[in-house]
């Protein structure tokens, strides 16, 4: 070990996109190497849990934790890394707000298993085999982590220093954050206030979006496969549910610049408690119909409302989950 700062990165309930995004910083990753010793990073280096367990408390200077807390293993490592890290960052949508896996909070763990191992029409599982948490083999006992009913965010599990949203966080934002952290660790600059959301820009996604925005009155909702959106005009004005107005800026409005509506991965803007509820309120406010019946008809045309408005934020929402 050198006297360089210690860096860890971990994936809990996640897809791996966050790891790719870190590597996508390009030559910036060399700065990481120049300033840090990687002491734990399952996706990139061969360390074991026992190595981490052996570190002193606070040994890790910077830990980027991505993924939600979905099972007992996620929870164990979250707590372990908290104990071993000076700065713990909830990295990416899943760690910050539950992300896509958070939509599992619409069902119980058993319902999900039933769907995956029993009811899925493409299955061939005549014996009804389900994964077992404990299974004895000649070589000994095999264990799987226990899957919880409720997906949690990192902050619902342990104390978190910073939040960095995005699915995944944009590389240029990661690079910026790394600069700030390295400067601070060297004692050459301040760290942001504890609990801050970092790697974002002020205002909302709309502020970064170049599309022309005018008054909004929506009389029908459409999805982008149904028509060719005007490339210049605000997507929401064209009836596409674009989460831009209720999403923190920082991504550079990459989706809307290529004709895709914002999906809301950068999370609720500062001051908003529940991103989905806020966007629902926004959309409801601009529906333009004279009668309650027509309003109901327009509202019914939104496919998968929870998946649309809470695509990344259900686990972190006020309601958190459906009743089990």
């Amino acid at each position: 070990m050198t006297d360089k700062f210690k860096f860890a990165m971990y994936w809990a309930g996640s897809c791996g996109g966050c790891e790719i995004s870190v590597l996508e910083t390009g030559t910036k990753i060399l700065d990481v190497d120049a300033n840090f010793d990687v002491v734990f990073w399952p996706a990139a280096a061969d360390f074991k849990y026992k190595d981490v367990e052996a570190y002193d408390d606070g040994f890790i200077d910077l830990c980027l934790f991505n993924g939600c807390v979905r099972n007992s293993e996620n929870e164990y490592i979250a707590k372990l890394l908290r104990q071993k890290s000076k700065v713990l960052v909830a990295f990416g949508s899943c760690a910050t707000t539950g992300g896509i896996p958070g939509l599992a909070n619409l069902a119980s763990a058993q319902e999900i298993k039933d769907l995956v191992y029993r009811d899925n029409p493409s299955l061939d599982n005549p014996d009804g085999v389900y994964p077992q948490e404990h299974y004895a083999v000649p070589e000994g006992e095999l264990d799987l982590p226990h899957m919880y009913d409720t997906v949690k965010t990192l902050a619902q599990t342990v104390d978190v220093d910073y939040f960095m949203p995005g699915c995944p966080p944009e590389s240029h934002q990661i690079a910026g954050v790394l600069d700030v952290v390295i400067t601070a660790l060297k004692g050459e600059g301040p760290l942001p206030a504890k609990g801050a959301t970092i790697g974002v820009a002020p205002k909302t996604c709309c502020d970064e979006c170049k599309r022309v925005k005018e008054e909004k009155k929506i009389s029908s909702f459409r999805r982008i496969w149904e028509f060719l959106p005007d490339p210049e005009k605000c997507l929401l004005e064209q009836g596409v549910i674009c989460m831009g107005p209720a999403t923190q800026a920082g991504c550079g409005a990459r989706c809307t610049s290529v004709g895709m509506p914002c999906r809301g991965c950068y999370g609720a803007p500062e001051g908003v408690i529940d991103q989905g509820a806020k966007m629902l309120s926004t959309v409801a406010s601009i529906v333009d119909a004279p009668t309650p019946e027509e309003i109901a008809e327009i509202a019914a045309s939104v496919p998968d409302p929870v998946g649309t408005f809470y695509r990344f934020g259900l686990a972190d929402s006020l309601l958190r989950r459906a009743k089990v």
Binding site: K203, T204, P245, G271
Partner: protein, 657 residues
């Protein structure tokens, strides 16, 4: 920051609240809550001694936050806020907890009511530390008033206001003012001739220098706020120059399109394509019906009207005119519509001849009506028997639950008129209950009983032409259960008058929306308070009068019109008015310029600043409705008095127990 000292006052409201809520228990509980320094209960908090309790505690105990658990804030919030203010406390540091409408009146069980009252109170105890002192905003008042609707209510209100020297815009949809009253023959119970008492008022309104009469016009947009409404009125093209037209009616004589059903005569009489609705019309000016006029339809016509018109007033090129003006107050007097009995098919309206509505009978019995006042059947003969069916479309769960209030009396009037014209004719009144509640009404009913009218208590079951006896042959037959005799009767009649109820105007809801207030469940305009503010609406500066509020007779309408005029005058007679400071504010540092708030603001109080790329609230135009707060995706507009932390604290408080 001084520490929060909350005082709690729990009102018994006589037995209204104390009858259901254990007031002593809740008051004692409240005394134990965080920040609460004093907790009292009193029989009537709104009384002077009640208000004095608040004032004393503010002054002697240094109370700096107050919650009054009593009735709805729409009732007494101003009362208590004034008391707080008098004692030197900013009125916005006082909150009401509605434990009457939201609790004691709607909760059966006493224990449940007590627990609920605690939660309602706790919500405000939690909220108060987040309240901020606010100062009312003072704005200038435009002294002009707009009256919408030129029936008796609108005319009366306009005349009253004009008498005080105020400028009045009287807007009427039809070519002439007069409304329904102008169609009536006699008025109950005095049997005054409607025209004799109405036309002097119409003519006075038409000539009044303070009244700008905008007939054949409709309000398109209303913007602004109390004391400062901006109005857009569309003056529809009459195709007649009203400055030069003298109302001589020579064009009517000349017009070749002569068979247009007259709206004023309920389609019973005919008019020409260029017309004056009735001889006493105000303004007495001709109007061309664009849908009937051959020239305007692009067909060939020698235009004899143009030839006949001495002053050359006819102008086929005339266009609608849009007028913009500002007023300080608005009186809505848009009236009612007669309930159309067509859906009630068992009464065969529109199916059988001589089944007519009450308004049709008004025209038939009117000396200036299509029959010259002769009560006759379609074939011109006098009816030997007439049945008058009460409560058609009123007091009927299938159509309108409400009592239309005037039908019993006008039905009695009809009986009288029939007996007067045709003493030999049998008249049957088929009623459910006889509601003769006004001054001189019961006496009028008694008088009719002596005039030989047959009163049958029962709602008519059907009107048919199916004869079961020679006596019924070729006549209408009304089937009814006479609930006093306990038998089903078949009454042969030559004429059946359906005493149709009064219905809200079909566009009442959209009109109310345009003006920013609401309608009751029955569709009539909603008053601010059913008892204490029957002519105000929830929108400050907008008043209502007449049947647009609820069915009523002429005396009540006139009285209400006077009250509405007084309400408007009390406002516009002041140079300024204080408006609620609970308005929105947009932080330009946070606004992303997405235009959503601009789109949703119902009062056009938010403008987009192109230069800065952000939205801005025009404080004076903001009414504090909170729509922008709800609509903004990033919580940028914030409404004073309704900040997120205040609302969340309230929710926390309600849920905490």
């Amino acid at each position: 920051m001084p520490e929060d000292k909350i005082a709690v006052y729990f009102c018994h409201c006589g037995s209204n609240i104390a009858g259901k809520v254990d007031v002593e228990k809740v008051t004692a509980w409240a005394a134990e809550q965080p920040n609460v320094v004093v907790s009292r209960e009193y029989k009537y908090m709104c009384s002077d001694p009640g208000q004095d309790l608040i004032k004393e505690d503010i002054q002697k105990l240094g109370v700096n936050r107050v919650v009054v658990a009593a009735c709805s804030p729409t009732m007494h919030e101003p009362t208590f806020r004034k008391a707080a203010s008098d004692a030197g406390l900013n009125p916005y540091l006082l909150q009401m907890a509605n434990v009457r409408e939201h609790c004691s009146w709607v909760t059966e069980d006493k224990d449940e009511a007590t627990e609920k009252a605690k939660r309602i109170l706790n919500a405000q105890i939690h909220r108060l530390p987040f309240n901020e002192a606010l100062d009312p905003i003072e704005v200038p008042v435009n002294p002009a008033v707009m009256v919408v609707g030129g029936g008796i209510a609108g005319i009366e209100a306009a005349l009253k206001l004009s008498a005080t020297g105020k400028k009045v815009y009287l807007v009427e949809k039809q070519p002439s003012i007069g409304g329904h009253m102008a169609m009536f023959d006699k008025t109950f119970p005095t049997l005054d001739c409607a025209a004799c008492i109405l036309t002097p008022k119409m003519s006075a309104a038409g000539k009044d220098p303070n009244i700008e009469l905008l007939a054949y016009s409709e309000v398109e947009e209303v913007d602004g706020y109390v004391g400062n409404f901006k109005v857009k009125v569309r003056k529809k093209a009459r195709y007649v120059n009203t400055d030069t037209c003298t109302g001589c009616a020579a064009c009517l004589e000349a017009c070749v399109v002569r068979k247009v059903p007259s709206e004023f005569d309920q389609g019973l009489g005919k008019r020409t394509a260029i017309y004056i609705p009735f001889p006493q019309a105000v303004p007495l000016r001709a109007t061309i019906d664009a849908e009937k006029c051959l020239t305007l339809k692009g067909k060939k016509c020698k235009q004899p009207c143009t030839t006949a018109c001495g002053p050359q007033a006819i102008d086929f090129e005339q266009q609608d005119e849009v007028l913009d003006f500002e007023v300080g107050a608005i009186i809505m007097a848009t009236g009612f519509e007669l309930w159309d009995p067509t859906p009630e098919t068992r009464y065969s309206y529109g199916q059988l001849d001589n089944v007519i509505t009450s308004l049709e009978f008004e025209r038939i019995s009117n000396a200036s009506g299509p029959t010259g006042g002769h009560i006759v059947l379609k074939n011109g003969e006098a009816p030997k028997s007439v049945a008058i069916l009460h409560c058609v479309g009123s007091r009927d769960e299938n159509y309108q639950e409400h009592c239309s209030r005037v039908c019993c009396m006008y039905s009695l009037k009809f009986s009288h008129l029939i007996k007067e014209h045709l003493p030999e004719t049998e008249v049957y009144e088929l009623y459910i209950d006889m509601r003769a509640y006004g001054k001189g009404y019961e006496e009028f009913y008694k008088r009719l009983m002596d005039e030989g009218v047959h009163f049958v208590r029962g709602r008519a079951a059907e009107v048919s032409s199916v004869a079961l006896s020679p006596e019924e042959e070729g006549r209408l037959v009304v089937k009814v259960e006479d609930t006093l005799l306990g038998i089903v009767r078949r009454i042969p009649a030559d004429m059946v008058i359906l005493s149709s109820g009064l219905a809200p105007a079909k566009d009442a809801k959209s009109v109310a929306q345009t003006f920013g207030f609401g309608c009751s469940a029955n569709g009539f305009y909603l008053e601010r308070h059913p008892k204490l503010e029957p002519v105000s609406t929830v929108t400050d500066g907008i008043f209502i009068a007449g049947c647009c509020q609820y069915p009523k007779d002429i005396p009540d309408t006139v009285a209400q019109a006077g009250a509405a005029a007084a309400g408007a005058l009390a406002l516009v007679d002041n140079p300024t008015v204080k408006v609620e400071p609970t308005v929105s504010y947009i932080d330009p540092e946070k606004c992303c310029g997405c235009h959503i708030c601009v789109s949703v603001c119902p009062h056009t109080a938010i403008q987009y600043n192109e230069e800065k790329g952000v939205a801005e609230v025009i404080t004076a135009a903001c009414k504090g409705c909170g729509v922008c707060v709800a609509a903004c995706g990033s919580n940028v507009p914030q409404q004073a008095g309704y900040l997120d932390d205040q609302i969340f604290a309230e929710i926390e408080g309600a849920m905490a127990l």
